[in-house]
Symmetry: C2
Subunit: 217 residues, 2 copies
DNA sequence: CCTTAATTTGAACAGTCGTTCAATCTAAAA
DNA sequence: TTTTAGATTGAACGACTGTTCAAATTAAGG
């Protein structure tokens, strides 16, 4: 941290930018698929179609690369969620279901929209959220937006303790991630069922959060 | 599978049993901490205080060892849950809150009871549930009991589709695992809050499952 | 006790790991 | 065009990976 990088003297070429993007995309898929330890720089390089040395050149150390990958989409997702929240507030007073919808829907629609990279990103977030090793990374990438939604919910339920709102948020996020990356479990437990069910997920989270907020207010 | 093991001609010594237990316990902690790929046989051997060769002798290949570790506590936990369910049924007609309580409480109380191995087991289950690579292992270890609870819930809500019940089960399990192994996230998002909150978790799951079951009945 | 199955040791095997770097090639800036 | 920062190659580094096995040790069964 706080290391001065030597200032660039030339703009990166189009080829360089393209290579960098291919490496980051490949790293995202491999990290999501196999976790931090299970992912190998060589697998990432091979998937990106480059030499191993290039991964270090564009992504730094393995840990820096992981950090880069996680942070990359966090900003974009945050923006979508905050925008949804502001749009909803403009049209009507916010209620709990709407707030949770603004948090959950943007990501799940991206993940279910056929973009495998957003599905992979969900698995990545699950890894980061589950492992205390990434505590600082989680705080840096997710806390600001999470706190924003927590504050929005807390304003609706002034009697609820802060721990209760935070617990609801964590439970809701875990259900959302399970919805995306454990869909195969749902299918395995109920052969031949429908699949998607975004509204059902939001209904689950809304009812759960509402229940714990009103019972300790 | 279906390989005939050479029949034992002697009972294992007390020391052998003790060594085997130390290796399995060490493997449980290391697998939970670092995942399948991140765990090394040498780390496990070192934690157990034995030579690397002994791990293969008592646990087989790395994959067989992982399988062994996951399956070991699954049976015990299943028994606790089914017992709780039968005991509850004997004293009163089952309702949704009671069924979910019987599923969630046994594990969370073990994990919060100070036994670090049960916390580790939760992380292990999270790994298995998240990764399609362990689909067969998950089916073998968890499906029977999960199906039992799903059937019990479905009987209470005859109008609900099977996919809805399965989704509720998966969401509830994910919230339960998050409760145990993402407690640090709750703490990070709400400094100075209480901590435990098992009843709050069960209230969350009950309300969530009830909501999705009654809305598509 | 003795026999010998079972356990434990210690070391080696062939690969893979993340990282580094001189040499080479590409293309931005002057 | 020339200069040369930056991108890319290809190979090497030591450390670590899971697995195997002959030899030594332990202890159950007779």
């Amino acid at each position: 941290m706080f290391v001065l990088e030597k200032q660039r003297q030339r703009a990166p070429s189009a080829r360089s930018l393209q290579t960098r993007a291919r490496i980051l995309d490949a790293a995202e898929l491999v990290f999501a698929e196999r976790g931090f330890e299970g992912a190998s720089i060589r697998d990432i390089a091979h998937l990106a179609g480059v030499q191993v040395g290039l991964v270090a050149h564009h992504g730094g150390s393995k840990e820096e690369l992981f950090h880069l990958i996680v942070a990359r989409r966090a900003g974009e997702l945050s923006r979508l969620r905050i925008n949804a929240l502001e749009a909803a507030r403009a049209s009507a007073p916010l209620d709990l279901a709407t707030i949770l919808d603004c948090f959950i829907r943007p990501y799940v629609e991206l993940a279910q929209g056929g973009d495998s990279h957003w599905v992979a990103y969900g698995r990545l977030v699950a890894h980061v959220s589950a492992d205390p090793r990434w505590r600082d990374l989680a705080a840096e990438c997710f806390d600001r937006t999470a706190q924003r939604f927590i504050a929005e919910i807390a304003a609706l339920f002034p009697g609820a303790g802060p721990g209760t709102v935070a617990a609801g948020q964590v439970y809701a996020v875990s259900a959302m991630l399970a919805h995306v990356h454990s869909a195969w479990r749902i299918g395995a437990l109920s052969p031949g069922s429908d699949a998607v069910g975004l509204d059902r997920l939001i209904a689950f989270c809304t009812a759960g959060v509402y229940a714990i907020l009103t019972s300790d207010g």
